[in-house]
Symmetry: C2
Subunit: 208 residues, 2 copies
DNA sequence: TTGTGTGTTAATAGAGCTATTAAATAACGG
DNA sequence: CCGTTATTTAATAGCTCTATTAACACACAA
């Protein structure tokens, strides 16, 4: 079991290149041939290390998927006020998306074209999300009773946050085209959206 | 040039089946062989009528794309108050999405995996959206000066609306999995979202 | 040095896909 | 009915992709 530098290197390289390609083109449009070409190794090596393309993909996908799901942790709920809690959820989640801007596309893409394959992953997510939703629900109920926010379910609120946080990355090619933005300008735009989204989310539930 | 029923029928059938498959699996995952198989005709027929798979796809895509873009027409701005205008935008847009629930996925998917191909389509969209944005911008400025709404750009507002309207359809497989919904229940959920979204959007900009 | 395990490559089987072609069939006008 | 045109099929060329296999290279321990 001696995994020296060089071999571990190519295995990792394959992983990295595969990640890059899967993220930007999806599973179907990515070929093991192209992965090998970019790594600069023989195509058989990809299969030597990962046996099948499916295998390689699933290793990557599960790892990446948990990045996104763990992005909405209950930690945010440790803040003092509800407003602070919600803002923390938005910001921490958005930060993870910014660090993995192409990941939403991959997940949407594979879950749409091949929903059956990810049943186990989705059921894991169900359990995780239940905890967060329950906690958030309690917080909301208190404020609703106090009359500080309108009646809204934790699920709706979370969906609102996810929608506003994620959609701009999914629509990035469109936004770039419509607004003639450079990648840098897009990043700047995303930073500005941070405040915009929190204002919309909080304004959207707080009572006037 | 006599296009009687039967041949026009198969041509249309091919279109319809192609639409269905492209919408649910994207371009790469759809094969002309499968289209033909579903129609019940020879695979060569697909090429007889549309010559290439690309051609067939583009015919469909352009048609479908305009459905979505024209969904945000300036007509909504004919309403009296700003609140009514915005609600009209949300509702008419959402109605189009509900009628074409898989279309957002197709557009996101193809625009992401093959952005160069749609430059002409995107540039058309740029022109269209400019008009709407300008009009909306004027409306907003008036209200901002009056102090009835917070400072927000037309682009941000529109992006908020699109995000909230579209994202749930992109994440549909996930939502179904996480909440264990039947398709019927999902439709019901979408109907409830209608009000939720208008409340969030309007509450998100109106001043308390 | 020889043998063993790991990493790597070339070659290729096997499958599926797109697109074309030539031939068969159906439809239709005169 | 005949000729012409439109529709449909079978066959296949040509390509690309996944996966396997056998051979080669190299390090390193005995």
């Amino acid at each position: 079991m001696k995994e020296a530098e060089s071999n571990m290197n190519t295995e990792q390289q394959i992983m990295e290149v595969a990640e890059e390609l899967f993220l930007s083109k999806g599973f179907a449009m990515t070929t093991t041939t192209e992965i090998a070409r970019r790594v600069g190794c023989n195509q058989a090596l990809v299969h030597y290390y990962f046996r099948t393309k499916d295998n390689l993909f699933e290793k990557l996908f599960e790892k990446k998927f948990t990045i996104l799901t763990s992005a909405i942790s209950s930690d945010s709920l440790k803040n003092s006020g509800l407003k602070e809690k919600i803002e923390a959820i938005i910001v921490t989640h958005l930060d993870v998306i910014i660090a993995n801007p192409k990941l939403p596309f991959l997940i949407i893409n594979e879950l749409t074209t091949n929903p059956a394959r990810f049943e186990n992953i989705v059921s894991k997510l169900r359990e995780q999300s239940l905890i967060i939703l329950e906690n958030l629900e309690k917080e909301l109920e208190i404020e609703i009773k106090k009359g500080t926010i309108r009646n809204i379910s934790a699920f709706d609120l979370l969906l609102n946050i996810l929608s506003l946080n994620i959609f701009m990355f999914l629509a990035k090619p469109l936004l770039l085209g419509v607004r003639n933005l450079t990648p840098k300008e897009f990043d700047y735009f995303v930073q500005k959206r941070r405040q915009e989204i929190t204002q919309t989310i909080w304004g959207g539930i707080s009572i006037k």
